[in-house]
């Protein structure tokens, strides 16, 4: 299994951004995005300034922009939503290329796209420059309840194991001629998922027993 080091979005490096404390990065992203979300949608010059700041951080992180740009595709469903907005929004309408669009809808869609894009790029930069253990330690320092951090640490630790197990099960299904995505084969897919739940649950029990045998007392 190609789990290797780091998580899927991580881009190995030693830049200033990589070396910054994880909790500072999370707080910076949260603060930045709160300001972005609070900014009125028509202050385009201010958004340009935000973009320059964010791109400056990306440049400082030495993560290739193409690496992040490819992964910004996660945004596509929202782009579709934003494109629909001017058609369904109310208010005075204007003609653009022969289409009757709501002016307020256009402005809102533009603002939403700008804010969502800044959010996705910022979050990608955080993910690309932060290792999982550092992020978890950072969350603990931010007073996220220890149990939540512990649950998250087990989740990311076994993420590759469980998703790889699922993909092997789906490969087995496909090699027997059924398609996990098709509703016709939902019964087989659901049995697979049920088996995956039982395996995950039993893995959790084994991990817990292994921890107990190494002196675990309920606190990490």
């Amino acid at each position: 299994m190609g789990a290797g080091h780091g998580h899927r979005l991580h881009y190995h490096g030693h830049s200033v951004v990589h070396r910054a404390q994880a909790h500072h990065k999370v707080l910076a992203l949260l603060g930045f995005m709160l300001v972005v979300v609070a900014t009125p949608v028509t202050w385009y010059a201010v958004f340009a300034a935000y973009a320059v700041i964010l791109l400056g951080v990306v440049a400082a992180s030495r993560v290739p922009f193409g690496y992040l740009a490819k992964r910004m595709l996660i945004e596509v469903p929202f782009v579709v939503f934003a494109v629909l907005m001017p058609f369904v929004a109310t208010g005075p309408r204007i003609q653009v290329l022969g289409l009757s669009l709501s002016e307020a809808g256009l402005i809102a869609a533009g603002g939403f796209l700008i804010k969502a894009s800044l959010g996705v790029l910022g979050a990608l930069t955080l993910a690309a420059t932060t290792e999982v253990p550092d992020l978890l330690a950072g969350l603990q320092r931010l007073r996220i309840p220890a149990e939540m951090v512990a649950i998250a640490s087990f989740m990311v630790r076994y993420l590759d194991v469980v998703t790889a197990e699922m993909s092997r099960m789906f490969t087995a299904m496909r090699s027997r001629g059924s398609d996990p995505r098709s509703p016709r084969h939902w019964p087989a897919m659901a049995r697979t998922l049920g088996a995956l739940f039982i395996r995950s649950y039993e893995r959790g029990e084994r991990v817990h027993l292994a921890m107990l045998s190494r002196g675990y007392t309920g606190r990490l």
Partner: protein, 226 residues
Amino acid sequence: MHVPDGFLDLPTSAATGAVAVAGVALALRGARRELDDRTAPMAGLVATFVFAAQMITFPVGAGTSGHLMGGALAAILVGPWTGVLCVSVVLGVQALLMADGGITALGTNITLLALVGVVVGWLVFRALVLVLPKRDAVIPPVAFAAAFVSVPAAAAVFTGLYAVGGTAPVSIGAVLTAMLGVHVLIGIGEGVITALVVASVLKARPDLVYGARHLRPVPTVEEVSA
């Protein structure tokens, strides 16, 4: 698909953030009763399972697809409190490590998918289980109903939030109709898959289905230690 940054205004995002913090704090207390010192490893592995299950998408027509929310499924399999924790952790990890769902919208996403999805699913499930015959055979259909109702319920709450803090002037009636229309379809997929998964676990390891525990005798000490 999770709510991104900039979809709802700041006051609404902050308010749902406060709701999410309160809900997760309550769930932490409740989960200790469901799982005791096994909480961290068990809930962690179940969260991984919920994450994997959310990768399953199904067509809802017009070329779009929905994915499993997994709230009702988690509640029925591991109990509502643990379910809230698992789905919340999944959403947090998705926001911080996978750029899926905005960081300022994390409270909104936890409120919709973890709190509304799990709690509505669990309440429907418990209400139906209480009035129907106490047999294994009723559990999967009840799981269908619970998962089916939880999806449009989350969509309706989202529409309510949008009415308060939406950033585009859209007629709320139109949003509600569109959201409910799409999410009834997604709800059918969610319900069918949830029911089938619960049925298969019930067949293989009936002791693992939290929502069917009232149908089993309480295990004796010898059985537990065996």
